[in-house]
Symmetry: C2
Subunit: 243 residues, 2 copies
């Protein structure tokens, strides 16, 4: 039975790190909320689970994955569960621990990126918090992007196998997530990121290496890859892209 993946159909959001893993691995899966032949919106499938009053182990929010009756929610937990089954992490325990740790840091980063355009509340429109978003974004650009990017570059630099990947000598699922972060930053903050990205040659090389992997290249060129837009986690608002 194919994996059933549940996430909002119009955005990359917090779900894209899972879609990237499923696509790179080339496994059989259904993107449930986009699964009819026209890839039309089927959010009802997500809401039916979120609003089921009787579910003993409910998810708090999408993304979640169904694998033969086992439900896993939270992107990082999904990847931790999935990666050994789809060959995106090795068998060594300390490698798995470190991969998950990196992925949880990616989770934190995505939450911070989201709050650059919604510093006051997700429930309010962007237009109602533009001034606050400018302040939060300026700080994010000045301090937070470098802090996270320095961290990822340090891992790539200190990897003793010098493979160009984050862990050991093979591509693993956090590499796909770092690709997504770089793509997202280039989309959301093109001016600001272009001023500092030369400090991160290894991270940029990793991004390039992911782009040309056969399965991922097919995915990125397909309409299954939802374009970045101003509904997702990474949003391009020129007024926030200061430098």
């Amino acid at each position: 039975m194919p994996y059933e993946f549940y996430y909002w159909p119009m955005i990359q959001g917090r779900g894209e790190v899972v879609r990237l893993a499923l696509e790179e691995a080339g496994v059989d899966y259904v993107d449930v909320a986009r699964s009819d032949e026209k890839q039309e919106d089927n959010r009802a499938a997500i809401l039916a689970i979120l609003q089921d009053p009787d579910l003993e182990r409910p998810p708090f929010a999408p993304p979640f994955l169904l694998d033969n009756g086992v439900m896993i929610a939270q992107a990082a937990a999904i990847l931790q569960y999935l990666a050994p089954k789809i060959n995106l992490i090795g068998n060594e325990e300390t490698e798995k621990i470190f991969a998950h740790q990196i992925q949880l840091t990616v989770t934190d980063f995505l939450m911070e990126v989201h709050d650059t355009h919604h510093p006051l509340a997700s429930a309010l429109y962007y237009e109602d918090q533009v001034e606050e978003a400018k302040k939060r974004s300026a700080n994010f650009i000045e301090l937070r992007i470098p802090k996270y990017m320095d961290y990822f570059e340090k891992i790539l630099t200190n990897n003793k196998s010098n493979s160009g990947w984050l862990i050991g000598d093979k591509m693993t699922y956090p590499d796909l997530s770092l690709f997504q972060i770089i793509e997202g930053l280039q989309y959301a903050f093109p001016k600001a990121f272009s001023k500092i990205n030369k400090k991160y040659p290894k991270a940029l090389a990793l991004r390039d290496a992911i782009t040309v992997r056969p399965n991922t290249a097919v995915y990125l060129a397909s309409d299954r890859r939802i374009p970045f837009n101003t509904m997702g986690v990474f949003r391009h608002y020129p007024e926030l892209d200061t430098s």
Copy 2:
């Protein structure tokens, strides 16, 4: 060899969910940054690891745990690693998955709580973002506290074993974290939380049940339990506690 736990010595912060687990389990551990006889500040031990340029698998931030040379960072990952070893989760795989999922939701919640008083930037003083903090807190009180608390109450209600715990018929580590959330909300938002807490009888009963567990009761009464204060994740600023 005792577990070595690294977290900032003056706050509960994101590390307290781990301290609660170590204390409830009654295992031998060293709280490294507070470990001298006067429990004085030993932040240098944390910074030495964070700033080590050569570490192959560095943590992004505390908390982190050292267990015989294995380092695990991120509170939820630490608990996932630790709980089976210290008898705070059962052996069943789906229970472990659900426990971790709940813990990652706790992680998200703690990040949101932090941003009620720091909506613009962690690097800025609270005093420089009070007006924005008021707006974020009002929304947090109106929408986010109920959304999370409804979720936890639903899990307690739908647990078929009707044990009063989140998972199965035994106390597990996410129960300790839910205790911490309720204590934190009562400290930070006493007026607002007292208006809605009657909607969550099972969560409140769980909090009470944790309070009287022998090891935890000793811990809570000791000076190892750092009091809530206005440096941590949960902060009480009366101007944010609207209702």
